[in-house]
Amino acid sequence: MAAGETSISSHIQHHLTNAKMCSVNGEYVFNKACSESGFWVLHIDTLAWSIGLGILFLWLFRIAAVKAGRDQLAVPGKFQCFVEMLIEFVDTNVKSTFHGKSKLIAPLALTIFVWVFLMNLMDLVPVDVLPALAGWIGATFFGMDSHDVYMKIVPTTDINTTVSLALGVFVLMIGYSIKIKGVVGFIKELTLHPFNTKNVYVQALLVPFNLLLEVLALITKPFSLALRLYGNLYAGEMIFILIGIIGLLQLPLHFIWAVFHILVIVLQAFVFMMLTIVYLSMASADNH
């Protein structure tokens, strides 16, 4: 029984571990050899899947864009219609929320929506298939122990992905704030709100308090973005893994959870996109 429990927990652990690559003493090494490297590790499975999916997204959309650019008034095909519907959908959401003029926000929102959706979509691939395949390939062609081959195929269950997306949005938020309000305006926004008086001395007393609140409010935004997506997808993945270890009974359960998860992955992609737009429109709004 104890052995069984260990094997189950090690199985789960195996599923939740990224394939790592790092440089030790000038040599590139993988996985367990990287345990001492701390921050200086690349999750190669996360990077490969996310960049691969990003390229897939851009390649497909580029095909539609080239077709659309060649003859703007030609009757669009089904795929092009689908792409244009997505574009229109994103554009409507952006226009209803973001009232400035920006060439960046709408493509950014589209990229986030589709890319995050595709990364989430990997969650619907049965959890054991690709890791097992990777283990088999590693064992057969590279002479590795299949337990040493890690393959986490859903990039959004890796906190690095969601944090990097949120950091990207955070950088844009700061950039927009400074671009619209200027450095002084941005600092004023951080120090003169929410407590504001006409009396200069009282105001000086309130500045640190304001700064604390506003900086907290600012930093919470990317945190909530990153952790919401990560938490949802990580939990979903966890449940898939748990369902995956209960034997034959997993089939109906897996189906039910997968159907439910279709909703979650679309919703999370949409929420990430919407919150990005909202945060950026808040950052570029002049009045507090």
Binding site: N18, R62, I87, N160
Partner: protein
């Protein structure tokens, strides 16, 4: 929860994807969508215009048909009047002709009658003279009584 260098890699990828999308995906598609929207708007406007034009043309056609009918009626009316006039004129002319012919015929008849009467008179006179001659041959000298005979012929 282990933050690693992966974040930097992902951020670079994210930035690259957003840039690619912004430069090479979004503008052509948005332009195409807008161009198509405009085309559809033009098409709809053209349809509206065409409908108005059609209504106008129908009204015009109706008016023209009405005019044509009125004109046709007027022409028929005129033609009828003309016909009546021509018939009347022809009748007048025929009457005049008839009277003329009648008058001529009467004159001819009269002239013929006069001539016949003259002939007859002459013949009667000759007969009378012949008769008288025969009666008077024995008793009367033609030369001696010629003046009387002349007088007689004159009286006939």
């Amino acid at each position: 929860m282990n933050l690693t260098l992966t974040i930097i890699g992902q951020m670079i990828a994210f930035a690259a994807f957003v840039l690619f999308c912004m430069k090479l995906v979004w503008p052509p598609l948005m332009n195409a969508i807008e161009a198509r929207q405009q085309k559809i708007a033009h098409g709809l406007a053209a349809t509206d215009r065409a409908e108005k034009d059609l209504a106008l043309a129908q009204d015009k056609a109706k008016d023209q048909l009405k005019d044509a009918k009125a004109q046709a009626a007027a022409i028929i009316e005129q033609a009828k009047k003309r016909e009546a006039k021509i018939i009347e004129e022809a009748a007048d002319k025929a009457n005049a002709e008839r009277e003329h012919i009648l008058a001529q015929a009467k004159a001819e008849v009269e002239a013929e009658g006069n001539r016949l009467r003259e002939d007859l008179r002459k013949q009667v006179a000759a007969l009378a003279i012949a008769g008288a001659e025969k009666i008077l041959q024995r008793s009367i000298d033609e030369a001696a009584h010629s003046d009387i005979l002349e007088k007689l012929v004159q009286e006939l």
